[in-house]
């Protein structure tokens, strides 16, 4: 005969990931670095936006990229052409970066570069609107991208990503004349679930709106002096 014994746990399923994410954030803070987690569906324009961003801020900020892709180093190679340190992580089967993978990238960054000198680290997540939203990696702010070609309904269909975002970039606005997509409707849909995110329509191709994005980054980044207390970023 068997009897059953119950044990109440009450542990969040992603507890282990959350724990490592907090360790990562502590280390970013020790380095005096602000970390941004860039998330979107595949092809929304994360890599091209990063190319523009790295080029535009190169003179004023020291930056590095942790690049997540399921396979290949195509994106990492593109970004390396900017001359900025890029740590490539192939997630293999996994459809998102988790905190442990990013922790591995941070160790590599420490071995190969001087993270104390850095101001900003961009984590380019695997293209996917679902999973990355659930797996925190230790970032200070979440940046979601939604390209115009994806349509107005995506914030309603994939609400968690858009609710979690601190900044939403509506990308590829140069295509607006060719599409029956309203930026205002996208914004209305996002506002149903997220009243706090900064929303910036932009085109990395024409440069429209990019200045607003850079402005947001500067405001969200820690001051260059690591001794100064970091601004608190509220996660929505």
């Amino acid at each position: 005969m068997h009897q059953t014994v119950d044990t109440a746990l009450g542990i969040n399923l992603l507890h282990a990931n959350q724990h490592i994410a907090e360790d990562n954030r502590d280390r970013f803070n020790q380095w005096g670095v602000t970390c941004f987690n860039l998330m979107s569906s595949p092809g929304a324009g994360k890599t091209q936006l990063l190319e523009q961003t790295l080029a535009a801020l190169n003179a004023e900020r020291k930056m590095a990229v942790i690049e997540g892709d399921m396979t290949t180093q195509l994106d990492a190679d593109r970004l390396r052409r900017t001359g900025i340190p890029v740590i490539a992580i192939n997630t293999g089967r996994a459809c998102h970066l988790d905190a442990k993978m990013v922790a591995g990238g941070m160790i590599q960054l420490e071995q190969e570069h001087q993270p104390d000198d850095l101001d900003l680290i961009f984590v380019e997540n695997v293209g996917n609107l679902v999973c990355p939203a659930e797996f925190e990696v230790g970032e200070h702010a979440k940046v979601a991208l939604l390209s115009l070609t994806e349509g107005e309904d995506k914030p309603l269909k994939y609400p968690i990503m858009f609710r979690e975002a601190d900044c939403l970039l509506i990308t590829k606005t140069d295509l607006a004349p060719y599409l029956d997509v309203s930026i205002d409707t996208i914004i209305e849909n996002v506002r149903q679930i997220n009243t706090k995110a900064t929303i910036i329509p932009l085109s990395a191709k024409t440069g429209e709106g990019v200045a607003d994005w850079l402005q947001w980054l500067r405001a969200a980044a820690k001051p260059s002096q690591p001794t100064t207390a970091p601004p608190s970023l509220s996660v929505v």
Partner: protein, 131 residues
Amino acid sequence: MHETDMTKALILTIEDWLADQPDHPPVKTVYLTVGEFAGVEPASLQFAFQVQRQNTCVSTAALVIENIPLVAFCHPCQREYRPQIGQQYSCPTCNSPMEEIRSGRELKIDRLEFMTESAAPASPSKQTVEV
């Protein structure tokens, strides 16, 4: 694929917890609470669990999933409402955005049920783990 990773996280979390429980009996049932707004499909989770539990600490365990509905609270109206996922999240009465979520974000291992010999102490060990 998403649920495969979630299941991996689930099994690792249980393994971590069990590592601190020496001589624990086999796990009979894993009780999971999954909110409607947690981005996880219970049926896929159940399927992934059946596949991945082999040769782990939960190899003979069953997975029981309790679904929790998405409930939001509208401050202007001072009342709870059930958003229509994928269609409308704002308040159906006053159209205010969905700001406060009262339930539906849960993704939690609620409790474990162990199989023990009848000779084991009769009083069940109730432990709560603070996270």
